[in-house]
Assembly symmetry: C3
Homo-oligomer: 200 residues x 3
Amino acid sequence: MSLIKIIEVMAILVGAFSGLVEARTKKMDVVGVFTVAFITAFGGGTLRDVLLDIRPLFWVQHQEYAILIFFMSLVASPLLRHLRHIVSERLIVVADALGLGLFSIAGVSTALHANMPLFIASMMGVITGTFGGVLRDIVCNQIPMVLRDGRPYALCSFAGCWIYLLMRKVEIDPTFALWFSVLFIVLLRLLTWFKDVRIK
Amino acid sequence: MSLIKIIEVMAILVGAFSGLVEARTKKMDVVGVFTVAFITAFGGGTLRDVLLDIRPLFWVQHQEYAILIFFMSLVASPLLRHLRHIVSERLIVVADALGLGLFSIAGVSTALHANMPLFIASMMGVITGTFGGVLRDIVCNQIPMVLRDGRPYALCSFAGCWIYLLMRKVEIDPTFALWFSVLFIVLLRLLTWFKDVRIK
Amino acid sequence: MSLIKIIEVMAILVGAFSGLVEARTKKMDVVGVFTVAFITAFGGGTLRDVLLDIRPLFWVQHQEYAILIFFMSLVASPLLRHLRHIVSERLIVVADALGLGLFSIAGVSTALHANMPLFIASMMGVITGTFGGVLRDIVCNQIPMVLRDGRPYALCSFAGCWIYLLMRKVEIDPTFALWFSVLFIVLLRLLTWFKDVRIK
């Protein structure tokens, strides 16, 4: 469990970071930066839990993450111009792929626990993995990147969720199924990104 | 019941189709096409159920609709350029009016079942009938059509919901009240559309 | 309690009014005007209640407010050009600050009742105080004002919520804590507005 927690925190931090960068690009103030970072980090999981009627929400139970993002926003606003030079785009893509993989599988396994049918469970995985970024783009007044850019993003999540569901169906060890499908999403995303594969 | 199911499926398909067309116009990829089709088809009913705290959601219980829209998206993306010539605008308007009527009355009767006061029930009818399109336009980064174009759309739904509520109040046969008010919305919408009636 | 009700109604009316003005500026029809007025007035409280899983929603229980806004929309659409000359901007700012203070403290105290941790309760206060305006701007296809303009708005709400939480912690009389923190938000907002204080 504790290893999952660590990666979960990484995923949330990655989401928050991409929100910070996006919000600063749009010249938002510190409140806007916090808001966009927060919804990017927690938007997907929150929508999933509202749709499945699971309460309390993750960030309501664990306020330490909200507080952490709050302080990141305070610090990041003045620092971000410099950070963008330090953090290379490649690092961001890798981190973001990690977040996609972890969030997606966390979502699909939560939905499975709530006895959802298989296709709905796979959709919940995709929603958890991607909706934070969708909300970020709506608040920043853009057509969401995931719906627009033709790079496989939600598709990677969708494929990985089905691999997880099939592995659970044939009763492979749950822990192995979890890690294998997270890794699958991360590698598929990175491979298609660096090969510049496009869908139409 | 089975006749309602058939029309309900028609309404969902109509919503999904309008989402498919809109998403392709915005040059979205296949994931975007599915997403926009899905939220156009299920957005209104989902918002109503979240507001009234009804679970499980319709599309969670009936995953076959989500799967159907999924395959429609796969097929529609390459085909849509041709489909837009085959399907005349007049047919789309008629189908869309059918969807508006059915979704609205399904919404108002669901709210009545949940013991909502009358005005709130009528609002739930309008929300169910129109919110899918609103979500579609927000995701596609436009001011929602229903809020902007001056043609009676939500108003037709609102009027029909009140006719249904009044007929239930004077204890007219529920099945007749249902069909009469669905038909009322459909005809009012078509009449005002083809006469080009505008509100200000 | 009845005094709170009066100010709550004032806050809702203020929210509705700012929605009416915004919707007319965007040349929306009467349905759009009602919708935007409604979500500006009730958006914050509704999101808070959905996140905390509190039902029934305020406006579902008290349909008289929805009906009132409905008639305001009918009357306001033709009148609004004249109203904008009669109502000075200064009056709007004062009324809006009142709404911010009342909604925020109502939100934070609701969250406290639902046993939320302190930081989450303060966030619920800010959400209740500001989200109506965020939704209004998203529907009108703008980057939300609160995230963009650099004037302290959410920050005033945040500060006032913490004052309320601290006063409750040291067991000051709840009624006094309530009014003091509402007043604090209102005055802080007005002071920073008229002094044109900006955050970065």
